[in-house]
Symmetry: C2
Subunit: 402 residues, 2 copies
């Protein structure tokens, strides 16, 4: 069995934690599995280096930033290899470039274009545990590039796909994906299995654990992902796999909260044809990811438009919206909202899921501002101060506490 294991920054955050990771690897290797290990920089290291760069420039040259940041993962890979070697294993540390990871030229946010696995495959054949510095590759000009946030996960998933490995285990300090945020609902349960699509829709639950980019790539490459913890390695994690592999499809898998949205309202828009289209295309030009949209045409023929954008894009959004001031009566912004989402594969085949949610929310006396639905998700915008109550009610009404 060929496994790709990936250990995040907290898992390798100190020398003792690296020893702990070496012990996890030892257990797997002693079962005669072939192993490729991908590591992040020790926690805090990337931020420290980035702060150094910012000391000199608020907009440091991206090529240099990649030279700078890529060093953190190289250090961890070397240290872990040294630790494993001392335990008696044949090990080798590799940079992204040595692992054959070729990217485009988009420094600090490069995309993997191809992977030449010859070097890794030869080392595996020779019995080596291969320890790869995550988050990095090289471009056609032989310069080091980094893959952006979640880049080490991407490295692991892409290697798993290219090597046709059996499993990709992502170790963090959390032992899997829960039915909802356990800080909000203490009775939240860990899921054993979840589909890629559910995971993508539950991204706010998994954000600390797995970024959407990696899940999307895992889906594309059909990589079986496991989210587990290096702090409790004996606990089974959550397997993220394709829908067909999930035997018992729950109606609702989880309830996600997203506090990082702002609701934008633009009211009594003069009903010029295409004005909504022009708002959204201008927002898209600024790379603002518009999420939920509701349009209401009143009896007066004027249009009200509500939508949400990420809170980090609020300033950019306001700039765009200002250019539509004269075409409307009023524009407002509400940061005191939360998006609550119900996600489950079973929604496809079960009716009445939504109405159950709406009554549960109504019973709590909570107003729903915006609703949007997809095949496997129902999302609602509600007031932020009532969001925890809403999540608890939903978690209970769908039987996730049990």
């Amino acid at each position: 069995m060929l496994r790709v294991l990936k250990f995040g920054g907290t898992s390798v955050g100190s020398l003792d934690r690296i020893s702990n990771v070496a012990n996890i690897i030892k257990k797997q290797k002693d079962q005669n599995d072939d192993l490729v290990v991908v590591v992040s920089a020790m926690s805090g290291e990337t931020n420290k280096l980035l702060a150094y760069a910012k000391h000199f420039s608020s907009t440091p040259n991206k090529k240099d930033v990649d030279m700078l940041l890529s060093s953190g993962e190289r250090v961890t890979s070397a240290l872990l290899s040294i630790a494993l070697n001392e335990m008696g294993y044949k090990t080798i540390s590799m940079s992204g470039a040595q692992a054959g990871i070729k990217t485009d030229d988009d420094y600090t946010f490069a995309k993997i274009e191809s992977i030449d696995t010859t070097n890794i495959k030869n080392c595996i054949k020779d019995g080596y545990i291969v320890v790869v510095a995550g988050f990095q590759g090289k471009n056609i000009s032989n310069n080091v590039t980094t893959l952006g946030r979640g880049g080490s996960d991407l490295t692991a998933v892409a290697l798993c796909g290219s090597l046709d490995a059996d499993i990709c285990e992502i170790y963090t300090d959390v032992d899997g994906i829960y039915t909802t945020d356990p800080r909000v609902v203490p009775t939240a349960k860990k899921l054993n299995q979840i589909s890629y699509d559910e995971m993508l829709e539950l991204s706010s639950l998994g954000a600390k654990v797995l970024q959407n980019r990696s899940v999307e790539m895992a889906k594309k490459l059909n990589v079986k992902l496991v989210s587990r913890s290096s702090f409790t390695p004996d606990v089974c994690g959550t397997t993220i796999t394709k829908e067909e592999n999930i035997v018992e499809k729950p109606i609702v898998s989880g309830i996600a909260l997203d506090d990082n949205q702002v609701r934008v309202g633009i009211y009594k828009v003069i009903d010029k044809p295409g004005i909504a289209g022009s708002i959204f295309s201008k927002l898209a030009d600024e790379d603002i990811n518009v999420d939920m949209i509701v349009q209401t045409v009143g009896v007066d023929g004027l249009t009200d438009l509500d939508f949400t954008v990420p809170i980090d894009d609020l300033i950019k959004t306001k700039k765009v919206m200002d250019s539509f001031k004269d075409s409307s009566e009023n524009i407002d912004y509400n940061e005191h909202i939360t998006k609550v989402s119900i996600v489950g594969l079973g929604m496809k085949s079960h009716a009445g899921i939504a109405s159950k949610a709406f009554s549960a929310i109504a019973n709590e006396g909570i107003n729903i501002r915006i609703i949007s639905t997809s095949e496997i998700k129902i999302s609602m915008i509600i007031d932020k101060d009532k969001s925890k109550r809403a999540v608890k009610a939903l978690h209970s009404v769908y039987g996730l506490d049990k």
Copy 2:
């Protein structure tokens, strides 16, 4: 004019010191010079990483050690490039591999085999300041290698030679080479010029500044070296160049002290033919660098042998010497000695230099235990507790105070 500048660990030891280095470079670039800059890791960084490695293993895998240690210089090169870029210069940071430095496979102590300067030359042509991570290269298997102690100086000298650059300036926290150690003789003077051979013989004076490996390579490649300080960049340093370039050849250039030698004595050696040869070949087999040797054959036909070895090799030396116990009456070791050397090109053409030294030492009532001479050097072994007095007397008798 094409200059290679090299900044050591103390010179780039903090973010403020890196800014200072950027200002030194700015001044030179503004004179329209082309610049290749070689940097060390920030001071303390290499030792920190090495301590991390030693945490896991007392004999860490050398290949991994090189992956680990090479990251320090990469960080500095990226940061310096970012700082210069912010000041408005076109800059690029390069790893040793990107700078075209190809080495053999001797991890942690690799030798430079060749340099492909295409990449650097193209960047210079395009107006870039090229900032190279020192101390490293890559071998034929595309693995990163490091060059051992003084490796960043070697990088700079080798690049200067390969690029046929005009000068190689080595910046440290010392502003040049002195006639002797200023801590011993406060009237010691900074030398303006010195030949490669003198520098090699005065290595103990320059050890903090320039290692013999780099001076030897500079001599071989005919690289004009300048030792100067990044802390006082307006002070001229010491130029190390070939003898022909030195107009006024001083009789004595400097007085060196070496406290790191041990005198080994083996007495009444049974006069088997070749026993001295067999002692020295066994020491050589152990990589012990025997320095000064005196052999005395007594009237009884038995031989006394005195020689010095580096103090770091004492344990290895004792082990070798033990195998000759039965062939001699007695073996002893004296750590309380110092080697004092008088170095100067003028010795070649002036007689009486040695006798002047011997009388100066005798006038101080100091015994000389061993003497050895070369074309441009006279070395004497004396008691350690009298070494400072000896150096002061010699410094004065050769007029170096003036």
